[in-house]
Amino acid sequence: MSPALRAYQYNLLAYKRTWRGSLTTTFLYPVLYLAAIGVGLGHLIDHGSNKAVGGVPYLWFLAPGLLAGTAMQIGANESTFPVMAGIKWLKTYFAMLATPLEVTDVLYGHLLWILTRVALASGVFLAVMTAFHTVPSAWAVAAFPAAVLTGAAFSAPVMAFSATRETDQSFVVLYRFGIVPLFLFSGTFFPVTQLPGWLQVIARCTPLYQGVSLCRGLVLGRPGGWDALGHAVYLLVMFAGGVLAARVSYRRRLVQ
């Protein structure tokens, strides 16, 4: 077994003991969001105007946006406090480093675990979407890797950031001024064309916008050729850059 997988195994075993706690975020949230906003609010929206949002029922529009938004949240979430725990609270990283494992094994093992969590959550979300009849196209299958890629694009840079922090205070700031605004204004709940011109440009440049557009296109059966490729490349580059940055910040933090 490769060394990084041995580090990964730690998270797997730890999760076996604590998975109940993550049930609400993974299973319940998609149901609640889709029911309250998608069905409840969507009903008003679809009846209030004569043109449906994006040419489809609001629930159809919203669901893939939420899929990408959830992937981002899980990717970022799992890359903040658990990283701090590895470094400061439980010091599991240091326990690993006293064994033949190296800094990159610790990093890749944890990253792989975070991607597993994103994949689990995305899979469940897609299943819930299917149950809500919001998946009109078989292209939706490809929305699964797209959602995982969205989560990955956030997790690696956030890991790099978390490894430089002394306290968890910065994570609150990251959420308040990063994750939450992105979640709200990247085309998740409404088309970015609703925003004033200059904000629209900014919104189109955000990473979550790429994930939302990619997932929405696939789920609705309009993958959209070059645009989709552009979104995917954007996210891939962000992920790769994050990994490189995390290699540096992990080494700086863990080799003293």
Partner: protein, 261 residues
């Protein structure tokens, strides 16, 4: 310590561990040493058994063999009864024993322990010493740092006294005492402020006299004879004690009595 465990880059000089180069063969060296860090780095949420098991997996030990090893180690650390409980509620001594057992999971030939008994009660310390002594007898090399001189005296064949990052003295506990102290020490307490005056008066009775605010220490090879001589000079201490010289005397002599923070 961290350099020997291949956790920190070498800051100067040359270092070989088990005949290997720490800069190049880090993982290989670490696979053959067990590290007991000052912080336990245990996962408090997981069970005692899982902590041992996972650590063994980091070394890539096969599952079946590892399960047997974990049972042995639980026995060794006297934690068999608590094996399936979480680590969180365990006492400091139990956690320390678990950390030591964990370091042994890969049957290392060298075990590095950073202040293994700091903060433990006497019972827990003695149990740990017993376990460490057993390891030593089995041929495992132990490298220990400690502030407790009795611990050093109990466990160490070779001892290095460090002061501000430099080696102040080295040798076996016996050699160090012979070289840096006398066989016995007479401790005298006098009324009030008289210690300096008495110290000057009695200076010629011992090889070395140390005046402390609350007591006078006479370093001598024949404690009882020196005490008799003190009394025959008419000095009447309110308390007198003859004891053997210890490593603590050596340590304080070499590194001074001022607080190092």
């Amino acid at each position: 310590m961290r350099m020997i465990a291949c956790l920190s880059p070498i800051s100067g000089g040359t270092l070989q561990v088990l005949g290997l180069d720490p800069m190049r063969d880090g993982p290989q060296i670490r696979s053959r040493i067990g590290l007991v860090p000052q912080d336990d780095t245990l996962d408090l949420e997981l069970t005692v058994r899982d902590n041992l098991y996972l650590y063994g997996r980091y070394f890539g030990l096969p599952k079946k063999q590892l399960r047997e090893r974990v049972d042995e180690l639980l026995e060794f650390a006297r934690l068999t009864e608590r094996a399936d409980e979480r680590v969180d509620p365990l006492s400091g001594g139990m956690r320390r024993r678990l950390t030591i057992a964990r370091a042994l999971v890969s049957s290392p030939s060298l075990v590095i322990l950073d202040e293994p008994t700091t903060g433990l009660d006497p019972q827990a310390r003695h149990l740990l010493w017993d376990r460490l002594y057993r390891l030593k007898r089995e041929g495992v090399t132990l490298v220990i740092t400690t502030h407790y001189m009795d611990e050093a005296e109990q466990l160490c064949d070779r001892l290095v006294v460090m002061d501000a990052g430099r080696i102040a003295a080295a040798g076996s506990p016996r050699e160090l005492i012979e070289q840096w102290s006398t066989r016995e020490v007479v401790e005298l307490r006098f009324e009030a402020e008289g210690h300096q005056v008495h110290g000057d008066r009695l200076a010629d009775l011992a090889e070395r006299v140390e005046v402390l605010p609350d007591r006078l220490l006479l370093y001598t090879d024949e404690g009882d004879a020196t005490l008799d001589a003190v009394r025959s000079r008419g000095a009447s201490p309110i308390a007198a004690l003859v004891r053997r010289s210890t490593l603590e005397d050596v340590f304080l002599h070499l590194t001074g009595r001022s607080l190092v923070d």
